[in-house]
């Protein structure tokens, strides 16, 4: 059944486009955006989504993480740099996402123009469930991971990995088209931008 549906559909397509003109794809859009201050623009754009943003020197990241998540039981994904691993203040050991208060991760790439963070489940980024189920997400973005625009991000990413593009906390515009933060994904997104 399915096999013949396949042949049928393909035959119908071939008949439908028979003799149609060939197409040229003009790519005259910007391959990269001119951005003077990547960190500044990224911070501003993430902030526009009402995420909490901090810009800190790389060396101070461990202390800031410890300070920010103090008292919270955090999911610690595999491969998170040792310095970014918050001290276990609860004493209950590594948290599982279903009971944890939050998750701390790194990222694969970040986009200044759109204020977007992309996770690719690589080291220190956790599985998709780990970054979805907890209500709070602290994400560390290194300044050298920030690109100007969408085209650069797409070219840096590996489609074979499952990707999650995150632009601010979970939100809905379903009620009178007003943006409300916080539905099913983490209701709070906090971003630490680590500068060299």
């Amino acid at each position: 059944m399915s096999r013949s549906a396949r042949e049928d559909i393909l035959a119908r397509i071939r008949r439908a486009v028979d003799g149609a003109p060939e197409v040229d794809i003009p790519r005259r859009y910007r391959a990269t955006a001119e951005v003077g201050d990547l960190v500044g623009l990224f911070a501003e754009r993430v902030g526009d989504y009402r995420a909490i943003v901090h810009v800190v020197p790389e060396a101070e990241v461990p202390a800031r993480i410890a300070e920010i998540v103090a008292g919270r039981r955090m999911v610690v994904p595999e491969g998170l740099p040792a310095g970014w691993t918050p001290p276990d203040t609860s004493g209950a050991g590594p948290a599982d996402p279903y009971t944890a208060d939050g998750v701390v991760t790194g990222c694969a790439v970040a986009i200044a123009e759109t204020g977007t963070i992309v996770l690719d489940t690589g080291p220190g980024q956790g599985s998709r469930a780990q970054t979805l189920v907890p209500d709070y997400h602290l994400c560390v973005v290194r300044a050298d991971q920030i690109v100007a625009g969408v085209p650069e991000a797409v070219s840096r990413l590996d489609p074979a990995r499952p990707l999650t593009w995150i632009s601010g906390p979970s939100a809905t515009s379903d009620i009178e088209l007003n943006r409300v933060e916080g539905v099913h994904g983490p209701r709070t997104l906090e971003v630490l931008i680590a500068t060299a």
């Binding site: 397509i13 486009v17 998709r128 469930a129 797409v154 979970s170 009620i175 007003n178 099913h184």
Partner: protein
């Protein structure tokens, strides 16, 4: 199309006349569409290369359609290589059968769903119900629609016709676990939905989704969303079934650099939507099935003018700027695809056999606002006019148009008609009878002049 919409009686003029009388609906729609119109305009205005992105988006889609057979085969090979399974469905019934079979094979009787136009188009929820399987919508707006036994009325914001007070009432009436003190604050309503759906997400073993894009080159599927219900459905269940129209394929991974700029800005009027998920085959060990749906699309593809409708990325920008949609509301279109895109897509997918479907190409003043905002440059007015030429015409109208054509095709006949009108000018009543009362019910007629321009010109021009 959707079983719920199929066979909807009436026609667009009648349906919309009723909607125009509903002042609450008109208020809700006006407020919502104008809000998002402004947001879209401002984020589109931020990009200096919007027109170049639009031209690329249009061309990428045209290229896809030109070689759709090749790209689908490439997609199938890539998905299969990544551990996924690909199914092909000629029509709604076949797609529904495939999905029901896949669900049953898991032994489950419940599925969670991410908002998807394709599954609405084929009436999947109803088909699954007939097989004893319950489908739960998880998008907030879809939940509002499902709980209210209602129809969606917008592509992106299916409950756009409801305001917060109405939503609160639906939740209190129909959602068993709605908190009794629920207010109509959007944040409180969203929280109630979160709690209501949370446990269902964690429990469900099977999810059904659509997809915004499929990448032929890599076999990757892409879903854009806002709330995180998409991530829940795509990530947590053991089995994921995606039902996607065959036109949703894009040739290369790189093409996303265009569409991930065009779609969010056109759709919700944001620089980027909160969440975009991409996955290839059986990501993180899931059992993944892709159902490729034709259901009339190859017919649309065969039409030289109409095929451009298949470029549509369902952003709904055309609805939000449409003055007719704003007054008529989505339900008047009697289809899961309302607004300008619905007016050209529905008659092509379903044909124009019913009174409703035959009236859709006329549901436009041809003002062109839709074409201006469409991120893939679908010339909606052009397709509307083309469909009008194919639509069935009433006998009286046909006769009238033939006479008008005859008169207008010759200067002497036109001059004679003008002189006759001038002689009768004093006799025209303020209100005309029959079909022409449609004009005089709300509008005065212009005075007929003593002489036409051509007679004046002949005399003293």
């Amino acid at each position: 199309m959707s079983a719920t919409f199929l066979g909807m009686p009436g026609n667009f003029p009648k349906n919309s006349a009723r909607a125009v009388q509903n002042s609450q609906l008109r208020y809700n729609l006006r407020k919502a569409t104008h809000t998002i119109r402004g947001k879209r305009a401002s984020v589109v205005g931020e990009l200096p290369d919007w027109q170049e992105l639009r031209a690329a988006g249009k061309a990428i889609k045209d290229e896809t359609l030109r070689h759709l057979d090749r790209y689908l085969l490439q997609l199938e090979a890539a998905v299969t290589a990544a551990g996924g399974h690909v199914h092909w469905a000629r029509d709604a019934a076949e797609a529904n059968r495939i999905v029901a079979g896949l669900v049953k094979a898991t032994g489950e009787r419940e599925v969670v769903k991410v908002k998807s136009m394709a599954t609405q188009e084929i009436g999947l929820n109803e088909a699954l119900a007939a097989e004893g399987i319950t489908a739960y919508e998880t998008d907030l707006a879809e939940l509002i629609v499902q709980l209210g036994d209602d129809f969606p009325s917008h592509i992106l914001v299916p409950a756009i016709h409801r305001n917060r007070a109405e939503i609160r009432e639906i939740f209190l009436d129909r959602m068993a676990d709605a908190p009794p003190g629920l207010t109509d604050e959007p944040a409180a309503l969203a929280e109630a939905a979160r709690v209501h759906l949370r446990e269902r997400f964690l429990r469900s073993k099977v999810a059904v989704s659509g997809a915004n894009f499929m990448i032929a080159e890599t076999g990757t599927l892409v879903v854009l969303e806002s709330e995180g219900n998409g991530r829940m459905c795509l990530t947590l269940p053991e089995t994921l079934i995606s039902v996607v129209g065959i036109e949703k394929v894009l040739p290369t991974w790189r093409d996303l650099e265009v569409f991930l700029q065009l779609l969010p800005r056109s759709s919700t009027g944001e620089r980027m939507n909160p969440y975009t998920s991409t996955w290839t085959g059986s990501a993180e060990g899931q059992d993944f099935h892709l159902v490729l749906l034709d259901n009339g699309r190859t017919d649309v593809l065969a039409d030289e003018v109409g095929r451009q409708a298949l470029r549509c990325i369902r952003c709904s920008a055309c609805l939000n700027v449409c003055p007719v949609y704003e007054r008529a509301g989505g339900h008047a279109y009697g289809s899961v695809y309302p607004g300008p895109i619905g007016a050209i897509l529905t008659p092509q997918l379903r044909g124009m056999g019913s009174e409703l479907d035959a009236s859709l190409p006329y549901a436009s003043s041809l003002c062109g606002a839709c074409y201006d905002v469409c991120p893939v440059a679908i010339d909606i007015p052009e397709v509307l006019v083309d469909l009008r030429a194919k639509a069935p015409h009433g006998a009286a109208e046909r006769a009238g148009m033939r006479v008008a054509g005859w008169v207008l095709n010759d200067q002497a006949r036109l001059a004679a008609a003008q002189r006759a009108a001038s002689r009768l000018r004093g006799l025209v009543p303020r209100r005309l009878p029959g079909p022409l009362s449609a004009w005089t019910d709300t509008r005065d007629l212009p005075d007929i002049p003593e002489e036409s321009f051509r007679d004046w010109w002949e005399r003293e021009g």
